[in-house]
């Protein structure tokens, strides 16, 4: 139990020393640090942990060597990882059978296992230290502070990493001073809209009400975005601390976490972290002897994308259908159970302790004039380094894709980067030198959104991508207002017609008209932004739409109806492998005697033949 700020500082100093010793070797031990992020666990990280423990035991090294499982390292496409300290060597793509070598050669022998080191795809150079890998070099961890460093289930490790220093500082200030600090930091909501967090807090602070609430929006619904999940899984106390500071600032004594039910690990760790904070007296009555009391609760989402919209989210917490309502009144005036409520995203709340711990200036050092600090992105799709990155605002998209992301795999050509999920848009190669901030991305017809950044290459059809997002939104539209309910359905029908080669130029005009109507007339931001993927691809990839409509061709060979498979006569070795693989018997020919041919009438365009041909003889080109 920590009762005063002095007790907190004293204990944090001890914890820091212990945590540091796990990195600098001052306790004389060797630590094997394993990434416990979702991607690594899916590729077998837990087996690695077992194997490490088994071998350490077997070789009688338990006194000298310890295994630590921490949160996500970020570079998911190279996982699973083992990082050896104090030497600080990172091994990647580690398999269970590699552990023996790591322990015998490195831990016992002191020699680096060269073959498991990261190889820079540009230079071919092997890199042993994580910080030297280009993926990490341009990053700055503020929201992800502690992630991939601490054991998320250990209170002492979090404390040693700076947890609760921000709250201790905040409690020495008046609530209004805390609001002003956040306002001066220029922190903008990381969930999508980019509204000034301090201003939101000020609205709620100004309300004269005994009952107020803080709600953390952890309903991370954008497909391809997983930064909130990572923060909740890897350093949940940072979000709880952020929420507690928010509660103190606006005068709330209760907070609710609304987390997707699809994230069971995040929910488990968050629940555990709340229990740890309660046990230490950092949630509950009279926190750190300040007289301020605060409690946190968890509510699970039940699978509805629209609940990411704040008024829908509040309805969902209240046990209702998650439908938005018109604003004003804003939640800061009338929110949960009609009481003043602020709704902040996970990443926003995780950033707050950093500002209070290190001061406003330390935060505003990073970023651009209009967008301060950093932003976490989930970099995915056709990029070499898939993973989670946190970069200062102002980093260019080119740096994100090429320096951090390591470029496009397979020598393919970059086509677009999609940001902002189903509410965002596609940014083209010509626009890659734009620096990332809230306003620049909006100017490009996209938006920051929650931070999904999906890279697309020449093999992706932009009409198909627009259709993909429209299918998503059409499915997730809550049905309350007709522009969104009907508009998304009609747009999806037209996009389907285009991808099937049935559309006319009149359909294209109609698509734009409906898109604009949906944008201007929908009730909530889901409907207002539903047409963004269409409008942005129409603006940047109009020729692809034309190719589908006028030439009846899909330039990327994605749309099935517009793609014809054929066998290049010169390349066919008459082996019959493709014919054997074809599930519908569309391929005919005689082994060793005649070339094989595909009957386009029978072909279902499943692509199995292309995958099976060893000679690259099958093509989708017309």
């Amino acid at each position: 139990m920590i009762r005063t700020p002095e007790e907190l500082y004293a204990r944090a100093a001890v914890c820091k020393e212990i945590l540091d010793s796990k990195f600098n070797g001052s306790d004389g031990k060797i630590y094997l640090m394993i990434c416990g992020g979702g991607g690594c666990v899916a590729s077998g990280a837990l087996k690695l942990e077992e194997e490490c423990n088994r071998l350490i035991e077997e070789k009688g090294l338990s006194e000298k060597v310890a295994v630590r499982k921490v949160g996500c390292f970020g570079l998911c496409s190279q996982g699973p990882f083992i990082r050896v300290f104090p030497k600080d060597v990172l091994y990647r793509l580690v398999k269970q059978e590699d552990i023996k070598e790591i322990i015998e050669k490195d831990v016992i022998g002191g020699e680096i296992v060269e073959r498991l080191l990261y190889v820079d795809p540009k230079t071919g150079e092997k890199i042993a230290k994580q910080d030297q890998i280009p993926f990490y070099k341009k990053q700055k961890k503020i929201a992800l502070h502690g992630c991939g460093v601490i054991n998320p289930e250990s209170f002492d490790e979090a404390l040693g990493c700076g947890a609760y220093q921000g709250l201790a500082n905040a409690l020495k200030m008046t609530p209004q001073e805390v609001v002003i600090s956040v306002l001066e930091s220029g922190l903008r909501g990381r969930g999508g809209g980019g509204f000034l967090t301090g201003r939101k807090w000020q609205f709620a602070y100004n309300q004269d009400s005994k009952e107020k609430y803080v709600v953390c929006n952890g309903d991370e619904g954008d497909p391809g975005a997983f930064m909130d999940r990572s923060i909740l899984e890897d350093n949940p106390l940072s979000v709880i601390e952020g929420m507690t500071i928010a509660g103190y600032a606006i005068g709330a004594s209760e907070g609710y976490f609304y987390v997707r039910a699809e994230y069971p690990t995040a929910v488990k760790r968050l629940r555990h972290a709340i229990e740890m904070a309660e046990a230490q007296g950092l949630l509950g009555d009279d926190i750190l002897g300040s007289g301020f009391s605060f409690r946190a609760h968890i509510r699970l989402g039940a699978g509805a994308f629209v609940c990411g919209e704040e008024t829908a989210l509040l309805h969902s917490i209240q046990g209702l259908r998650g439908m938005p309502r018109p604003r004003p009144p804003f939640p800061a005036v009338r929110g949960l159970w009609d009481k003043p409520t602020i709704v902040n995203n996970v990443e926003t709340l995780a950033t707050v302790p950093y500002i209070l711990r290190n001061g406003v200036e330390e935060f505003t050092k990073y970023g651009t004039t209009g967008s301060k600090g950093t932003k976490v992105f989930a970099l995915g799709g056709k990029v070499n380094n898939v993973g989670l990155v946190e970069v200062p605002m102002g980093t260019t998209l080119r740096e994100l894709v090429y320096d951090i992301g390591g470029g496009i795999p397979g020598g393919k050509k970059f086509k677009a980067i999609q940001t902002g999920g189903p509410s965002g848009g596609c940014i083209t190669a010509d626009e890659l030198d734009v620096s990332i901030d809230f306003d620049n991305l909006v100017a490009l017809g996209s938006m920051m959104g929650s931070g999904g950044a999906i890279v697309m290459d020449e093999d992706n059809c932009m009409v198909d991508v627009a259709k993909f997002y429209m299918e998503f939104i059409c499915d997730e539209s809550c049905g309350k207002c007709s522009p969104c309910r009907i508009g998304t359905k009609r747009m999806l029908e037209i996009l389907t017609k285009i991808t099937e080669g049935e559309a006319t130029m009149k359909d294209l005009e109609e698509l734009e008209t409906i898109g604009n109507a949906c944008q201007t007339n929908s009730l909530c931001s889901l409907g207002q932004s539903a047409a963004n993927p269409v409008i942005s691809t129409l603006a940047s990839f109009y020729d692809e739409y034309l190719a589908h409509i006028q030439d009846k061709k899909c330039p990327a060979h994605v749309c099935k109806n517009l793609t014809v498979y054929s066998i290049i006569a010169d390349k066919c070795k008459r082996c019959s492998l493709c014919a054997k693989k074809c599930p519908v018997g569309a391929i005919s020919g005689i082994v060793g005697k005649t070339n094989f041919v595909i009957d386009p009438e029978v072909c279902v365009r499943c692509g199995l033949c292309i995958a099976s041909c060893k000679f690259g003889a099958i093509t989708k080109e017309q």
């Binding site: 497909p223 391809g224 039910a261 969902s316 209702l320 259908r321 995915g380 799709g381 199995l608």
Partner: protein, 163 residues
């Protein structure tokens, strides 16, 4: 309510009582029931209504709004195909199509033998292993169209072995 066992009625009432002190417990109650039984048919909604005083109409509205709640039972094996953007741009749609083709059901449907349900998932956040498929919690990374038949056979063989 005729075909609900007495034990089930007791259990459902017990779940309702867990949240008696909450201001607005409906979604928590329904989540627990969904977890316990795998679906929330009308008979169960009626019991919840009696216990909590919330109208059946409102409960039905909530059950049908959220994709986590279902009125019908799922198959023994739920094939969750991630259709998040990162998976989609790497060919996840073809994976779903293949499962649909082989099993003869659309996403959201269950095979007649009650064995398989296909679930098109939004994003499971495993973008580094795209396209990803999960079956009852087991994750299949980097799935290719050619592997789909084998994955289904794996579960059919398991069933045959258990039978």
């Amino acid at each position: 309510m005729a075909h609900l066992s007495e034990a089930a009625v007791v259990k459902i009432n017990e779940i309702c009582d867990r949240y008696a002190n909450e201001k607005t417990p409906l979604i928590m109650i329904l989540s627990d029931i969904q977890k316990e039984y795998g679906y929330i048919p009308l008979e169960v909604q009626e019991i919840v209504s009696e216990r909590t005083g919330i109208s059946v109409a409102e409960i039905y509205g909530v059950v049908t709004f959220y994709s986590f709640f279902s009125l019908k039972p799922n198959g023994k094996y739920v094939i969750g195909c991630c259709l998040g953007t990162a998976c989609y741009v790497k060919g996840a749609q073809q994976i779903v199509d293949k499962f649909s083709e082989i099993l003869g059901i659309k996403p959201g449907e269950t095979t007649d033998d009650g064995l398989f349900t296909i679930d098109a998932l939004r994003c499971i956040g495993a973008c580094a292993i795209a396209p990803a498929v999960t079956i009852n919690g087991k994750v299949y990374p980097h799935v290719e169209v050619s592997q789909v038949a084998g994955i289904i056979d794996e579960y059919k063989a398991k069933e045959a072995a258990e039978a």
